[in-house]
Symmetry: C2
Subunit: 389 residues, 2 copies
């Protein structure tokens, strides 16, 4: 950027910048007193983990709310995903997945002796492209691991069709997809298992936390056993298990949050609307398509920055917004396939590479004041105008 632009930005930031950091997300926390009141009975019982009453209640409530037959709570989503691989007895071989995801999706493969085979993303979206899967299936392919990126459902029908024809299990990384519905039913009913994350950055949080959802009672039962050391009775341990348990403090936070979830989604919807109104006709900015058959959760607000039209590239916009105290995130840059330890040889991934270079996620959380979203959108518009002069 030239010197004139820089000095104009400095002047703008002095007048329009936020006095303190605006984070890309903040956890949706109920009042601490509510958490405490929920936790108190567990404290009085002195039963603070190991399938406590709050844990049981949260599992039941979430399965009902999300519309899935079976749900296992976990200490975090990564351990849930690792356990899912073990539930399906996946050891050695290749798993077809997307490079456009958080590193955990791919890391857990290595922790299981598996390796990723990367499939590019859709031409018109950010999810794994079903049209690319079949060419990647080989004799040692063990499973397909797509990600519902930004909570937008994958092409589940096409993926199921391929998986069925090749006899491959499908595990969905649904870390972003809490509460998302596709054609009126939970997105979690697709695939053999779906992993949810309840990390502090997610729309529903238990500080750390996660879950495995499934429609298959046998997989559900196996997940339950594996997350508790393989124990099935006081003197019976049937498999090498892990500790994947969620404790009662996490469960209390989850329970205390349920009543406010719909209101939180509504706030996010309004913020999403504000950003869209301001940015949708901005040259060089492409917003996330919300398919008509999806009830979204408004978890993220990704913006695709095309330098030639907008006037700034994504990285410059990201850095420039920092001068306004606006902390965006480059979800997902770098691509998983670009880390040396997980650069499986799968040729080029042009669409994923472009997305990794161009996407910026704007601040999005229920407590973000609408005026702040207005201001963030306005600042971005102004920066584009300024850059295009």
């Amino acid at each position: 950027m030239n010197t004139a632009f820089k000095s104009q930005v400095r002047a703008m930031a002095a007048s329009m910048g936020f006095p303190e950091a605006v984070y890309v997300t903040r956890p949706n926390l109920p009042p601490l007193d509510d958490v405490m009141n929920t936790l108190k009975p567990a404290w009085d019982r002195r039963w603070i983990t190991n399938d406590g009453e709050l844990h049981i209640r949260l599992e039941t409530e979430l399965a009902k709310r999300l519309g899935v037959p079976y749900l296992n709570l976990f200490c975090n989503g990564t351990v849930a995903l690792l356990t899912a691989l073990k539930v399906l007895n996946l050891e050695e071989g290749a798993v077809i997945t997307t490079p456009f995801t958080f590193p955990a999706t791919v890391s857990v493969l290595y922790w299981c002796g598996l390796r990723p085979v990367y499939c590019d993303i859709q031409p018109d979206g950010y999810n794994l492209d079903p049209a690319g899967i079949e060419a990647l299936i080989g004799p040692d392919t063990k499973a397909i691991l797509p990600v519902h990126v930004y909570g937008i459902p994958c092409d589940v029908a096409a993926i199921k069709d391929i998986a069925d024809r090749h006899g491959l299990p499908v595990i969905y990384d649904a870390a972003h997809a809490f509460g998302v519905r596709l054609r009126g039913e939970s997105v979690l009913v697709h695939g053999d298992l779906s992993m949810l994350s309840f990390h502090a950055t997610k729309v529903f949080t238990t500080a750390e936390g996660g879950a495995l959802a499934t429609g298959n009672p046998e997989l559900h039962q196996r997940a339950r056993v594996l997350k508790n050391f393989g124990i099935t009775g006081e003197e019976s341990v049937v498999a090498p298990g892990l500790n994947g348990k969620m404790n009662e403090m996490q469960a209390a936070l989850g329970l205390a949050q349920l009543d406010g979830l719909d209101a939180n989604t509504e706030k996010r919807r309004r913020l999403d609307g504000i950003y869209r109104r301001l940015l949708q006709h901005e040259p060089g900015l492409a917003l996330l398509d919300m398919p008509r058959d999806v009830d979204p959760n408004y978890a993220y607000f990704p913006v695709r920055v095309q330098e030639a039209l907008f006037g700034l590239n994504r990285d410059t916009l990201y850095e420039t917004l920092k001068a306004f105290n606006i902390q965006c995130r480059k979800y997902f840059y770098p691509l998983c396939s670009s880390h040396p330890w997980c650069s499986a040889k799968t040729g080029t991934l042009p669409r994923a590479e472009a997305a990794a270079d161009e996407v910026l996620c704007l601040p999005m959380y229920g407590q973000l004041p609408e005026a702040w979203a207005e201001k963030i959108g306005t600042i971005i518009k102004s920066l584009g105008s300024l850059a295009r002069i």
Copy 2:
């Protein structure tokens, strides 16, 4: 047991039985208000995981209190132990360990592509016998994984000598050994890494939780990176990592508990004394030897039951005590080596097998009323007398 004994037990239980279950342990919980007051600043900051301020404080406080140079907190002890194996790059091959332990010690080996080679326990204790290790070392031996069973330190000098001569790393499963000192220094300074558990059943608890302690700054740093997805910077992921993070709710529980820890240990010490006074001269009962150079944590009160002298075998005593509402635990029965999925071919393990058949852990936790310990000891004595008539 004959009918007369059974009817006498019924009569005794009717008069001496506890009105409600006496568990083998209960968590040492500070008042919930203390936890809340500790947690409040994190709530106000809306920062509830990812190296929060409480997490940092707890790591610092525990390292100081325990007397170890470096400590990493984890979501639980099992994930900590799994991470320790990855910190040392252990993949494929054999690890020499003890069958007399909780299944997690051995499970994590399988989750890393390793397999256990079992070494018998000491003739005069419950820990892995150094005299048995060397014969088990083969070309694919990768490490030694001893357990400080019941918090009694292993023969760390002998193990170090063998490990050094063979160039093998040593990971201690110190799940039971919080606060234990050997010859005036922390037992955690031995080995390359030590794993602690803060599960609700342990002397210090964060509901679920654990830690890796080490004296080696490089191993410490690698553990820190691996437990956070391998992330070293906003755009740098250097290895396949996992999520092993402890959250701020767990850290708050830990912090709120620190002031009361010494008093809790003192209560345990008194209960230990009561049991010893009552049971030490009882025929057929052998109590845990407390080595003179150890400052113990009184985490467990294991009793070894020799049927020929006591009059009842361990299993009958265990079942009979249930009639009094006394819930003991057979730590560790069955042996890990007896589960079909981890029965490595290592010949017989006569001492571990005898221990697994004969040990019973009595109720032991700070809030156990001394009168209850008196009564439990008295009931056990009476049952022995009755059985020997």
